[in-house]
Amino acid sequence: MAIEISFGQYLPLDSFIHRLDPRIKLIITLINIITIFIIKDFIGYISLACFLLFLIVSSKVPPLYIFRGLKPLIFFILLTFFLHLFTTQGTVIFQWWILKGTAEGLRNGLLMVVRFMLLISFSTLLTLTCSPLELTDAMESLMSPLKRIGFPAHEMAMMMSIALRFIPVLVEETNRIIKAQVARGADIESGSIINRAKNLIPILVPLFVNTFKRADDLALAMEVRCYRGGEGRTRMKEYVLSSLDFLILSISIVIAIISILI
């Protein structure tokens, strides 16, 4: 009955990966993603997969969590595989009904599967080891050069962090309201689609009312603290790059180059 949203599935563990500067983690993930798209051969993926394995092991994240990130996309991955297998022209290795599987198709299909799995695994690892707030901080910091051409980097980051900050609050509140209405005999799980939609009203109305109230309160609280946007704003926790950050970044760049060249 209760909803569980594993958005920003951050796992607060203690590892050196968790302690890395979030900007570095974001850059490394971006480098890896770009590399994944440049690589055209399996050998390149092997070195990248080894790097991924190293990161997962040193982050102490149970591998199960990475698989959980892959699970919802299995259908999509399989679909791409079969599309490649049956639509690529080349030497036919087997035929089933009107579908012709080709050797080139098999190769391309497998390449896509590996590509997707690496892509998802790298980004899942990022969200598992970086809290949502760290991520938005990193984005703001990386986008801040764009401020000069008028891009509202701070406002974007503030909007994102407020939205992220309130996701767990809203989830909790939704669960609480669901429980309260179920305790009054509301039936939210059975009945026709129209009935179920109707039964959402006792949940959505209080949720909206409370959210508007909360937004008002938040705006007031920010104004009371003289919030005036990003101009001249300092932070309590400045991110400082350590030698470890540079080391991991260099390793990542070297691995990317190796993966592309071999």
Partner: protein
């Protein structure tokens, strides 16, 4: 007749199978009889809210059994009828209000249980009288009311379903002193006059303990004390130890006792406390003797 609510070795775990897993209830045994006025007390995070959500099957135990009026909540497929027997008012119940009119809000639960409109009207009339809100215009929007009135509407909407046991989670939070007193008195009279079983959850002993005939103290997922208020307050040190607020009267009497005054300190009634103090004062004889009491 069996107990109204019976819990046998109940365990409950949040976020099972993850690094964030923790046990909120650890082996709770509990029997609640009809007509009791129980106060469940415990510091934040002691498992109070988790415990009461087992009473109407919103949560199901990971281990152990919860039996409500003879029905095991883990086995039954008819939780809806249990939820009618166990009326539950959550924290800040005014935030669950959604209807366009006060009448519809009060009728929501009753309509879910398929009562006829005639009966609904009758019950709403009686419940608004009981809670002293019969002056409110039933055809107006509940969102125009004050916070205290909205809370009463929310509480009334549960009470209208005529539950056998009335469970309230921190019903006094954010109410002014007068609102607190009135609400408690109304709940108390429901318990006395209609022998409604009442369970109030609170983190503060002072307010509810005067009305409750039984106090259950929870700490870290376990029941550590269970008995009538007078018994509970015999062990003041233990209550302060787990950072629970003790009624000021009890604290005062306990401090006098610690300084050598020969008086009982597990007293909740002002009148009674005054009598005890006067009696003790007289037993000391003249005024000079008072000075012999050690000061620290």
């Amino acid at each position: 007749m069996s107990s109204l609510i019976e819990m046998n070795d109940v365990w409950y775990q949040y976020n099972p199978d993850s690094p964030l897993a923790y046990w909120a209830l650890m082996g709770v045994n509990l029997r609640i009889e009809r007509g009791e006025f129980i106060s469940i007390i415990g510091p934040t995070g002691s498992g109070k809210s988790t415990l009461i959500q087992h009473f109407n099957g919103l949560l199901k135990p990971a281990k152990g059994e919860v039996i409500v009026d003879g029905v095991d909540i883990s086995r039954t497929s008819d939780l809806k009828s249990i939820r009618k027997k166990v009326g539950m008012v959550f924290q800040y119940p005014e935030t669950q209000i959604f209807s366009e009119t006060i009448y519809d809000e009060l009728a929501f639960g009753l309509r879910n249980y398929g009562y006829s409109e005639d009966e609904i009207e009758e019950r709403i009339e009686s419940v608004t009288k009981k809670l002293g809100i019969d002056y409110l215009p039933l055809d107006k929007s509940p969102f125009l009311l004050s916070g205290g009135e909205m809370r009463r509407i929310a509480i009334a909407s549960i009470l209208a379903m005529e539950p056998e046991v009335f469970v309230l989670d921190e019903p006094l939070a954010n109410l002014d002193p007068q609102g607190r007193r009135e609400l408690l008195r109304e709940i108390d009279s429901l318990n006395k006059k209609e022998s409604l079983t009442v369970i109030i959850v609170s983190h503060d002993l002072s307010e509810v303990s005067r009305y409750a005939n039984r106090i259950i103290v929870l700490s870290e997922g376990k029941i550590i004390m269970d008995g009538p208020p007078k018994e509970i307050f015999k062990d003041v040190e233990k209550l302060i130890d787990i950072s629970l607020g003790v009624p000021q009267l009890v604290e005062l009497l306990y401090n006098l006792y610690k300084r050598g005054a020969d008086i009982p300190y597990n007293i909740l009634d002002m009148e009674e406390a005054a009598k005890v103090i006067v009696k003790w004062r007289k037993s000391l004889g003249n005024r000079d003797k008072l000075r012999t009491i050690p000061t620290a």
